[in-house]
């Protein structure tokens, strides 16, 4: 079970990282979501894996660690807020740059006009 779980987290992380390294905003956002899935699962599993041990007092005999669950819940909410923001920001960037490349227009990297040279120019 643990190996399986670790593999899942590994795959989610790898996929998220790969997507975040893409050049367009949409895959990056998808990658961030994927990475946050990985992180949430990871943080959740710091309390170790338990079956049928939900931390609801009185329902079972042994309880799993409730703290990571609370942390993950917080992380999910925050992650949602952040994802929402970055999605909207990606839209803004698309609207402003006319392109959904994460660096703006393709010609974004081209050097700007040479109007800023030194004092030599008079």
């Amino acid at each position: 079970m643990e190996i399986m779980f670790a593999l899942v987290i590994g795959a989610l992380t790898a996929s998220g990282v790969y997507l975040i390294l893409r050049a367009r905003s949409f895959p990056v956002v998808v990658g961030l979501t994927m990475l946050s899935y990985a992180v949430n699962l990871f943080l959740f599993s710091t309390g170790r894996l338990a079956t049928g041990a939900a931390p609801i007092i009185g329902h079972v005999e042994n309880y799993t660690d409730p703290l990571p669950q609370a942390l993950v819940l917080t992380a999910i909410v925050i992650g949602f807020a952040m994802t929402a923001f970055v999605v909207v920001l990606a839209l803004r960037a698309h609207a402003d740059a006319g392109d959904d490349h994460v660096d703006g227009r393709i010609d974004y990297e081209e050097p700007k006009q040479e109007e800023t040279s030194s004092e030599e120019v008079k």
Partner: protein, 507 residues
Amino acid sequence: MNHWLAAPILLPLLGGILQIFMSFAPLGLRRVLGLATTTLILVISLGLVLLADDGSYRIYAFGNWAPPFGIVLVLDRLSAIMVFITAFLALFCHIYSIRGTDAVGRHFHALFLFQIMGLNIAFLTGDLFNLFVAFEVLLIASYGLLMHGGGSVRSIPGLHYVVLNLVGSALFLIGVGMLYSVTGTLNMADLALAVRDVDPNDLPLVESGGMILLVVFALKAAILPLCFWLPQAYAAATAPVAALFAVMTKVGIYAIVRVYSLIFGAEGGPVANLGMDWLFPLSLLTIAMGVLGAVGADGLRKLVAWQVIISVGTLMAAISLGTAPATSAALFYLVHTTWITAGLFLVADLIARQRGTAEDRIVTAPRMRSRTLLSILFLLGTTAAAGLPPLSGFFAKVLILESVNTGVSMAWVWGVIIVGSFMTVVAFSRAGSIVFWRNVEGHVKDPGRLTLPVTVSTSVLIGMSLAIVAFAGPITEYTDAAARQLHTPSMYIEILQTPMVGEEVTQ
């Protein structure tokens, strides 16, 4: 339990809430209430500075749950300084913004206050996960502020800033998770205790987690190679926001100082001084990168933004030395650089507004209207920033240089800082002479007179350089004491024994 400890957090929160409700109230009213909140925060933070000066640790346990179970705020000299620096900076950025920055977009005052709230949580919290939450609060507010004012220049740098910080947040959670998975605790004092006797078999997890946290903090602090998000983002933000952001990198530095003195500090047993050997060369390279960027900058805002990176490198170089004198010097430098770079962002903005299409670019342009005042402010600010006497930067620099012990590291630190200062002087003098003196005939649409709020706020921030010099003695006494406090983490750990409300009676 002293409720004032929570005031720097609750006040901006309540003020922010008020701003949400008042989104249709007249702008004037919103400004008055917003400024009143910021002013109050400054007053309280000054009180906290004085309170913390007795050298004891005060805690505030939310929900009356004892640490390590509940979340506590911990006030010591370092947190008090940070809260005060922030409050002071915030007030004058806030004053500057009422020139009209606050009116060019929505919810400026709410975002601004929430930003302060997040910063203050970060500086006060004694809980590692709560530090994450604090980071998120301050980041999301900073995203909002960064994008404030619209226009198309901000979205791409903003996107970079947000995406990288989101990755940073993910890494933070991984790091916290790794520490928790071994130690089973989140309170920083408790963590400091726990890592000392970690099973050697579990040690790599702790080390790895600690290093990931270092990467996260380094990203926030903008240390090479994680500093490249900063110049564009800061240069693109509206002036009061960029100025306020001068403290944002300091949050990362604060986190490094706090976590790496308390948990991974000299008393950290098997994880003592974790990562500091990485940090030292990187901070020197950061200075070099900052200098390179500053020398090559084609605009004043960019120039100041790179100056921020230089200051980050300088700070980290001192901190990574790991001695109390170096830490004290770093804290002194931090006070100086936060206010001065902030002031310079404001100066750059005032300049840009008077130069028509040339804006802040280092090119020939028609004369500015208020160039005498602006040139004085620019001169003072850049002199201070470059570390030339007689302003604060010089004292900060000397403190740092003196704090290095003779040896190889001395040669490196001195060499990099001094050569860096020289190049900075060259860059600033070039920029200043072109911007102020190399004029062409022509007319710029009259930008109007400098209003009182912008003049006062900019002058005060720049003028703090003189104030720091004047009060250098008391300030160094405070930072010395703060550094000593930081270098004896065992005192901090004793907060775990603080009785809760209702328990005091029985003890």
